[in-house]
């Protein structure tokens, strides 16, 4: 769902790890554990691989040790801020056929929502994800694509272009995204400022969402360090 999905959708050229979003249910976790065992993947940080931590919204981090993938990181998540639950994500997923098999990835709108985090590096990725989709479909868009661009484009010039070409839909979108009014007014300078403010608001919301979760991560780290210190004591 992370870097590999961004490669498929065109916003990245390379990813060093694999991020999985999964249904956190006992039976499914057993199946995933069996797959991870084949890769000789071990948990390398807190939290441990347990359903309760996934349900809480924490990610579990693995490193593979099997010769074919030694050193490769796998991160597993089940819940993300601002993103629907797994069954809805699965319903909307994209299936990509590649030479070496089929890949199930988050739908593009879901991936964009998942990327609205406090991390600076996620925001240029969102910009690129929506740009690629716009350039690919701009000549014959469907209504869902037009709505998606008006909701998510982060490139002032393109937002102005979409608002000009699809002014009726743009006017209906102003209520949920006020900066579309600046796109309708063909004012890229104002848009630039409003987009930056929009990003700041989302990053702040993500920081607030993570405050209690960070405390839980810290608590688990202290527990782990305490137990490893005890184990190393003579």
């Amino acid at each position: 769902m992370g870097g590999q999905a961004c490669v498929l959708y065109g916003a990245a050229q390379f990813s060093r790890d694999t991020d999985l979003v999964i249904l956190a249910e006992a039976k499914n976790l057993q199946r995933l554990q069996a797959a991870l065992d084949e890769l000789q993947a071990v948990v390398i940080a807190v939290p441990p691989f347990e359903q309760k931590y996934l349900e809480l919204g924490l990610g579990v981090h693995f490193r593979c040790q099997a010769p074919s993938c030694a050193g490769m990181r796998i991160d597993v998540l089940s819940k993300m801020r601002g993103v629907d639950n797994f069954p809805e994500l699965w319903e909307r997923r994209t299936t990509v056929q590649a030479e070496d098999g089929e890949y199930e990835v988050l739908s593009l709108p879901d991936l964009v929502r998942a990327k609205k985090t406090q991390r600076a590096k996620d925001w240029p990725m969102i910009t690129a994800l929506v740009e690629v989709n716009y350039f690919r479909n701009q000549l014959a868009p469907n209504p869902a694509q037009i709505r998606f661009w008006l909701q998510e484009l982060r490139t002032p010039g393109l937002l102005c272009e979409v608002a000009r070409k699809h002014a009726d839909v743009a006017r209906l979108t102003v209520g949920e995204r006020p900066l579309i009014a600046e796109a309708l007014a063909n004012d890229p300078a104002a848009l630039e400022k409003s987009l930056a403010a929009e990003e700041r608001t989302e990053r702040e919301a993500d920081r607030a969402y993570w405050l209690p979760l960070r405390s839980e991560i810290e608590r688990l780290r202290r527990l782990r360090r305490g137990s490893s210190t005890e184990a190393n004591d003579p």
Binding site: L8, Q13, D17, Q97, K121, V132, R136
Partner: protein
């Protein structure tokens, strides 16, 4: 109509125009080159991430060799 080149330059415009399958294959080639150079499989340190732990040990390079390293630099 705005062209991708105007926004992201020619290299990324070419990448934008590929199909997902073409990107997947091109990325796999980059991956092979990266590993051949001894590139690390650890994610880049990301202090913005809620999961960032400065004390977490890294995996080191894929092949255990030193890989690319700086052997000379200015004072800055």
């Amino acid at each position: 109509m705005i062209d991708p080149e105007e926004i992201v330059g020619p290299e990324w415009a070419e990448w934008y125009r590929m199909t997902p399958q073409e990107r997947w294959e091109a990325s796999a080639r980059l991956w092979a080159d990266y590993l051949a150079l001894g590139g690390s499989l650890d994610p880049e340190p990301d202090t913005d991430s809620p999961f960032f732990d400065p004390e977490e040990p890294g995996a080191g390079p894929f092949d255990g060799r030193p890989g690319v390293r700086v052997i000379r630099r200015s004072a800055v």
